[in-house]
Symmetry: C2
Subunit: 168 residues, 2 copies
């Protein structure tokens, strides 16, 4: 199912102020992966739980992202919550042109062919149930079908353009 | 515009494991407000930037939330990124039955009648452009029309059921 409403077409507010507001916000860091002719993945700070019953989550992706053509068709995605020991993984999956599944990345193939990263704090495999147009991004909603909450580490955070961690 | 697709109707995965995965995730803390016969507001850990051009954001709300009847009809909402000095505000707007706009809360009325909390790190007034059904929750998408990124404090965080803050 894909909702077809195109959201937000006129800009009434400058995007510089909008970006400045969200630079004051902090977020946990995730890597989203998807299977394809070649696996794809990208670092996301927009992962959020939507509903526990059914177990739904969402994340955002730009239609200009290198991973988008694959994510736009993938029936399943991998969701990885990174630990603070994984700043290098977050940087690799955020860097344009990086060989994200090269020798520096430890990963395996999970259910439905979904690439799963090793050593993450927690992961899910989820079935995509909607890709909702919102400006030049899509809000992807997916339903978890498998996962493990018992990996190592405490959350890696992103704030004001840099990585961070919890105080306590 | 409201997308009408109802997302996620069959549960294939236990919600306890799903909740455990998201307990490993950390998130910034926001308060969402809306004008009505009486103003409403609630603490949210699902606020995320969706797109900068146009300036779109999203947050989640349970249809069982006390604020939902008002949010379901509000044309505009207030978005507040809380600072770590505002743990009491986050607790007030999360507590069932609390008089959230009583004497303990410093607030004013902003554009379009939106309740604006004082002393927050950053705030936006945003026009609701979609309320997307997802299980027993709705994903609300809104377009920013006004805001201020220059309030005090560094972000208040939520992790594993408690408040937290940035290390650096």
């Amino acid at each position: 199912m894909t909702a077809s409403t195109d959201i937000g077409t006129t800009t009434l507010f400058d995007s510089a102020t909008f970006r400045s507001v969200f630079r004051r916000h902090a977020a946990g860091v995730a890597v989203i992966t998807a299977p394809g002719a070649r696996p794809v993945g990208f670092t996301a700070t927009s992962l959020t739980s939507v509903s526990a019953e059914p177990p739904l989550l969402s994340f955002g992706i730009s239609t200009g992202a290198s991973a988008w053509p694959t994510v736009s068709e993938a029936p399943f995605v991998g969701i990885h919550i990174l630990g603070e020991h994984q700043q290098d993984v977050a940087a690799t999956f955020a860097r344009s042109g990086a060989d994200r599944f090269g020798p520096q990345t430890a990963w395996r193939t999970g259910a439905h062919g979904v690439p799963l990263l090793d050593d993450v704090s927690a992961w899910l495999v989820a079935r995509v149930v909607a890709r909702i147009p919102a400006g030049d991004h899509r809000i992807v909603v997916a339903q978890a079908i498998a996962g493990d909450p018992e990996g190592p580490g405490r959350p890696l955070l992103y704030h004001q353009g840099g990585f961070n961690a919890l105080r306590h």
